[in-house]
C-alpha cells in the first residue's frame, strides 16, 4: 500500500490539491456556513477530475503498461483500485480541510440565519461530507475510466469537464432537477427537510459502480 501511495500521490500533486482549497477558501466568498458546501462541491469535482485521471494512464505514458500486461489481471486491477482509493481518500481529507478553511478565513455566520447551534453545524458538515464523498468518487472514477478508455488522461479530463459544464449550469439544473449530478449544490437551502438531492447522488453512485465494473474490461482490451 505504501508503494501505491508514493505512486498515486507524488508531492507536487498533494501540493496543488492543498493549494487549490486554500485559494478557493480565500477567494470564494460565503456569508453563511450553509453556503460552504455549495462553494466547495463543483470545484472539488474539477480537482477530482484532474487528480484521478492519471491513476492508470501514467503506466501508459511511461511504457510500464507493456510490462504490466504480463502481470496477473487481478493484481493489476487491485493496484488500480488501490490507487484510486488512495487518491479519493486524500481528496476527501482535502475537502474536509477546505470546509474548515472557509470558517478560518471568512468566519461565516452560522447556519442559514446566523444563529444555528453547534449541533446543527456539525450535522450540516456531515451532510456535506456524505455528499462530497459521492461527488469526489464519481468524478474521480469517471475521469479515470475515460482516460483508460482513450489511453490519454487529457481526454479523461476533457470529457469529464464537458459533463461538468453541462450539469453544473442553469440548463443542467433545469433539465435534470433533483437528478442532477450536482443536486447537493442546487438543493433548496431554505428547506431543511428537502432531501430530494439524494436522487442526484444516487445517479452518481450508480454510474460510479458501473464505471468500476467496466474498468477491468477496458484495461484488458486497451492494455
Amino acid at each position: 500500500m505504501i508503494h501505491e501511495m508514493k505512486i498515486a500521490l507524488p508531492v507536487p500533486k498533494q501540493a496543488y490539491a492543498i493549494f487549490f482549497v486554500v485559494i478557493l477558501s480565500l477567494v470564494r466568498g460565503v456569508s453563511y456556513s450553509t453556503e460552504i458546501g455549495i462553494a466547495l462541491e463543483a470545484p472539488m469535482a474539477i480537482l477530482a477530475l484532474t487528480f484521478c485521471a492519471d491513476a492508470y494512464t501514467q503506466e501508459i505514458t511511461s511504457k510500464r503498461s507493456e510490462i504490466q500486461r504480463l502481470c496477473p489481471r487481478k493484481k493489476r486491477m487491485q493496484s488500480i483500485y488501490k490507487r484510486i482509493m488512495i487518491q479519493e481518500m486524500f481528496l476527501l481529507a482535502d475537502a474536509a480541510v477546505g470546509y474548515g478553511l472557509f470558517f478560518l478565513f471568512q468566519n461565516p455566520r452560522l447556519g442559514r440565519t446566523g444563529q444555528e447551534s453547534l449541533e446543527s453545524e456539525i450535522c450540516q458538515f456531515f451532510v456535506y461530507f456524505a455528499a462530497i464523498i459521492v461527488t469526489l468518487g464519481f468524478w474521480g472514477l469517471l475521469s479515470n475510466l475515460l482516460s483508460c478508455l482513450f489511453r490519454n488522461m487529457w481526454v479523461g479530463i476533457g470529457g469529464g469537464l464537458m459533463l461538468w459544464l453541462i450539469t453544473n449550469s442553469s440548463i443542467g439544473e433545469r433539465y435534470f432537477g433533483a437528478w442532477n449530478l450536482f443536486s447537493y449544490s442546487f438543493r433548496t437551502l431554505e428547506d431543511n427537510n428537502d432531501f430530494s438531492w439524494l436522487y442526484g447522488k444516487m445517479v452518481c453512485i450508480c454510474i460510479g459502480i458501473l464505471a468500476m465494473a467496466t474498468l477491468p474490461k477496458i484495461i484488458e482490451k486497451r492494455g
Binding site: 508514493k6 505512486i7 510500464r64 507493456e66 510490462i67 500486461r69 504480463l70
Partner: protein, 290 residues
Amino acid sequence: MGIKIEDLTVTFKNKVTAINHADLEIPQGIFGLLGENGAGKTTLMRVLTTVLSPTSGTVTLDGIPYREKNFEKIQKKIGYLPQEIDLYPSLTVQECLEYMGDLSGISKRTAKERIGYYLEKTSLSEHRRKKMKQLSGGMKRRVGLVQALLNEPAFLIVDEPTTGLDPEERIRIRNLLVDFSEGRTVLFSTHVVEDLVATCNQLAVMKKGKFLYTGNMKELLEQAKGHIWICRAKDETMAREVEKTYHISSKQYVGDELQMKIISEAPPQIPCSACEATLEDAYIYIANQE
C-alpha cells in the same frame, strides 16, 4: 520448447507493414535479433509479449498458440524489458522492484531474495535506497532488466538491454543473460553487434519486416567469407573514389594511409587483400545483398 513463428504479418492502421510474412524458430538459449532501426524488431517483440496482435500468421510458445484464451498462460512465462521504460520515479530501486514483484504475483520473501541476488549481479546493491529518478540512464536500464528477471521467466525478451551502459557493465549484463539462459529462452534484440558476438550462437537478421538470415553465427560468417577486403588509400581523393564504388564497413588511418574495409560480392578492381569477416561485416554484407 521455444517459440515458433509462422507466416507472421503485422500491418498497422496506417497501412505500414512492420513484419511481412516472417517465419522464425527460437530455440532454447540466447537468440540474437539484429537489425537496423525500423526493421521490425520491436514490433516482433511486442507481438511475442502479447502487447500487439498480429494481422495474420501464427505464433506458439512451448506449443501454446497465441490466442486470447491462452494469453494469461503465456504471459506468466514471459519476462520483458522494453526499449523505453520509465520505472516509478518516486520509488527507490528496492521499492520499485518489490512493487513489480508483487504485481507479478511473487511472494514477498521470494521477491526480496531475488531482488538482492539480481541487484548484486547488476552492481546495483549500493544504489538500492536511491530513488529511481536519481539514477543514471544505464542504472535505470539495469533496474529494468532486474524487473524482467524477477519472476524467473521461461522466455525472456530484452530489447536493447545494454543501451547506456559502460563497457564493464555491458560485459556484466551480457554474462548475466548468458547465465540466465540456461534451460530458458532469451531473445536478445540489439543493433550492437559486439553484444551478440559475446553472447549468442543463434541469431536472426531483420530488415524491413523480413528475416534476411536465421541460423548460427558461424554460418553467417561463412556466408560473408571471401567478400570482405582491405585496401589502402593514399589520400582523401582516392578514398572518396573507393567510397563511391564500394560499400565501406570501416576506415581508419594507419600511418599516412587510410585503411578501408570493403564489402563486395566480387573482388574490387583496386589493389586489396581478402580479410576475415567479423559479425558486423557479415551483417552489412547480408543486409545489402538485395
